[in-house]
């Protein structure tokens, strides 16, 4: 029963101590590396097993010259994969079969464009959805809130391509905004060409209703927690006490969960609006069976998705000390 004083203190410290966040983050990163390895392997296998090859979709003379310059082409698939992996460790993602340009630069260029599009549209979604969610969590579904919530449900049910074409039609025929190509316009409405795809994807990427529902549910659940009652009883702000569990965690949760959907929507929007992003390139690469490009784009998309959940995990660990001991 009589422990030495330092022992008692240490055991109490152990209870309170939280594993350094760097350890947790590096563990998450290690998991991410394994995940990327798995993704690349599966995609490689699928590509290998799928019918068609880059050479049948290219011109005859190009094919022969390409085949001649790629000695690894005839090797078995696993050695091809290992070669590809070995090249990656040297920062070499190969060259595009179609254009002959180094894949890494290409993917980074379009990846940044896609990042603009996805982050921009995510921002649009959140800017619309979160205030509605907060107000309806606090005050219940008043008629105004009900109408707004319905609007978000309808908006997220609209097909992206449909809305995109409608928007293009209206902007071209009503307001004479033309051409709608990314960055190619020198008109004073240039920023609009940038905004339109972002707005369209933000409105109808199919996640807005979900965001409203999730945020509203979580926040109103937290508002009915007993500790919020305590906060009110001691005269503190209930928003301050509800912020972490009711706002920060659900919002990162929903962002992490919805990034894949937004990326999927980006493919369509980039097609429609001629946005030189990853989705458009992926589409093109898939048609050409441009293996190195497809691999690189898949990896990039996986990295985006993983990054989302990484941010979610990091916020969760920082905010909720309980989760750091799991």
């Amino acid at each position: 029963m009589r422990y030495p004083a330092f022992f008692k203190a240490r055991s109490a410290m152990k209870l309170a101590s939280i594993r350094p966040i760097t350890v947790l983050i590096s563990r998450e990163l290690a998991i991410a590396v394994l995940l990327l390895l798995g993704v690349s392997f599966v995609v490689f296998l699928v590509l290998f097993l799928s019918p068609g090859d880059p050479f049948s979709s290219l011109l005859k003379e190009q094919m022969t010259s390409a085949a001649g310059s790629h000695p690894g082409e005839s090797a078995p698939w696993y050695s091809q994969y290992l070669l590809w992996l070995a090249n990656i460790t040297r920062g070499n993602l190969g060259t595009s079969i179609r254009t002959g340009l180094p894949v890494l630069n290409e993917v980074i260029r379009v990846g940044i464009n896609t990042l603009y599009l996805t982050l921009g549209s995510l921002l649009v979604t959140l800017l619309i959805a979160v205030p509605i969610a907060i107000v309806s969590a606090r005050h219940g579904l008043t008629p105004v809130n009900w109408v707004l919530t319905m609007f978000t449900y309808v908006a997220s049910a609209l097909p992206v391509f449909w809305l995109a074409y409608i928007v293009i039609y209206i902007s071209m025929h009503r307001f004479g905004l033309f051409p709608l190509a990314f960055g190619s316009s020198t008109q004073k409405w240039n920023w609009l060409h940038f905004m339109l795809p972002v707005l369209v994807l933000g409105l109808s990427n199919g996640t807005m209703g979900e965001v409203v529902r999730h945020m509203r549910e979580e926040l109103s659940r937290v508002f009915s927690e007993e500790y919020i009652c305590t906060a009110r009883a001691k005269g503190a702000s209930i928003w301050k006490h509800a912020f972490k569990e009711g706002f920060l965690i659900p919002i990162t949760e929903i962002i992490a969960a919805k990034i894949p959907y937004i990326l999927g929507g980006a493919v369509v929007v980039e097609q429609v609006f001629n946005w030189p992003g990853m989705g458009r390139m992926a589409w093109q690469a898939a048609q050409d069976r441009d293996y190195p490009l497809i691999m690189a784009i898949t990896l990039m998309a996986a990295i985006f998705v993983r990054l989302g959940s990484l941010i979610h995990r990091a916020v969760h660990i920082v905010v909720n000390p309980r989760s750091s001991r799991e």
Partner: protein, 367 residues
């Protein structure tokens, strides 16, 4: 010397409107209580008798949408003097038809805003509250010490965070938490239920309130911790001397801690007086309900002989369909043929039968 009670609850009615039944559930139905400075007033009764709702009404924490509060709660302390329920009825709209309530609409938002504004400077500052279920009542995302520090900063004249921390540590010491320096940085999930309740008590007292409301402070803790919390509260009562409204269904807790007691049943006070007299097992004059509650506590002999526990027959009254007569009549075992009709037909009022002791029962007086 004493300028009247610190907290005076007059004719408090807290009803919850049930839309499906088109009727009010009368959780608290005309309660009058007065809390003198320095005393501890206990409220005892079965679950569902309206004890906690009384406390929540005082703090303006009745948030359930159709909750309607009326009456008067006068708070009179050195700093403040006001009716906590001022204008609260303005936010409720009732449509009546032949005395029957057809529809109740409540401007929930306005109500909430009004209560929050009206009770600013009262919640925490003048009246602090301890809840049941201490582990759920502390914010799990913030350390215990931070939460106490916040209370200090909000409700006392200390505005310097470092001083507030010292103050918080002082209160953690006062509630006898071991190694307060370490506990300060602990999160509530790292503390046991008993320690959490101690921290809650520290948080409530750190605001230096005029009135402390302890809503079932020992519920949900195991028996040994319960007795420790009770003795802590008793110690604090003598050392700090804060005016307390203590709510519990545990008669022993009330008997140990309170000076006066109100026995509640079905939203009404059935008996009100010095707790020493009322809660003693000696057969003096008391309300049949109080007697039945006391009889349901097993005596040492009963425990030794493992005989049956004496429960009160029947269920707690449904406060939607109230009988015309005494609310306890359906479960009362002391009705005599003489007064049976009266019990069935008319509800008795709360009358003084001995010094300071009031009872709501036909046994002790006539019409």
């Amino acid at each position: 010397m004493t300028a009247g009670p610190v907290l005076k609850i007059e004719n408090l009615r807290t009803f919850f409107y049930s839309r499906s039944k088109q009727a009010f559930s009368r959780a608290v139905d005309g309660v009058d209580l007065a809390l003198e400075k320095g005393e501890t007033l206990g409220i005892v009764g079965e679950s569902g008798s309206g004890k906690s709702v009384t406390a929540l009404s005082v703090m303006g924490l009745v948030t359930a949408e159709p909750g309607v509060v009326s009456g008067k709660i006068g708070l009179k302390t050195d700093g403040i003097q006001k009716n906590l329920l001022q204008n609260i009825e303005d936010y409720v709209n009732m449509t009546q038809n032949n005395g029957r309530i057809m529809h109740v609409s409540k401007d929930n938002r306005g109500w909430q805003r009004h209560v929050d504004r009206h009770l600013r400077g009262v919640r925490g500052k003048e009246i602090a509250m301890i809840f049941q279920n201490p582990k759920a009542s502390m914010n799990p995302f913030s350390s215990v010490g931070r939460q106490i520090q916040e209370a200090v900063l909000l409700n006392t004249s200390i505005k310097n965070p470092r001083e507030a921390k010292e103050r918080a540590l002082y209160w953690l010491e006062q509630v006898k938490i071991d190694s307060p320096q370490l506990r300060y940085d602990n999160n509530p999930f790292g503390l046991s239920g008993g320690m959490c309740q101690r921290a809650m008590i520290a948080m409530a007292l750190s605001s230096e309130p005029s009135v402390l409301i302890a809503d079932e402070p020992t519920t949900g803790l195991d028996a040994t911790i319960q007795s420790k919390i009770v003795s802590l509260l008793a110690e604090l009562k003598s050392s700090v001397g804060v005016t307390t409204l203590l709510i519990s269904h545990d008669i022993d807790v009330i008997k140990t801690l309170s000076d006066r007691v109100a026995v509640m049943y079905g939203g009404r006070v059935l008996e009100y007086g010095p707790s020493r007299d009322i809660l003693s097992k000696v057969d003096n004059e008391k309300h049949p309900y109080t007697a039945a509650l006391l009889a349901s506590i097993p005596t040492a002999r009963q425990i030794r002989e493992k005989s049956y526990l004496q429960a009160i027959k029947g269920d707690v009254i449904d406060t939607i369909n109230l009988p015309r007569g005494c609310r306890f009549y359906p479960r009362c075992r002391q009705v005599t043929d003489q007064i049976r009709e009266q019990c069935k037909q008319r509800e008795p009022d709360l009358r003084e039968i001995a010094s300071n002791q009031s009872v709501r029962c036909w046994l002790y007086f006539d019409a």
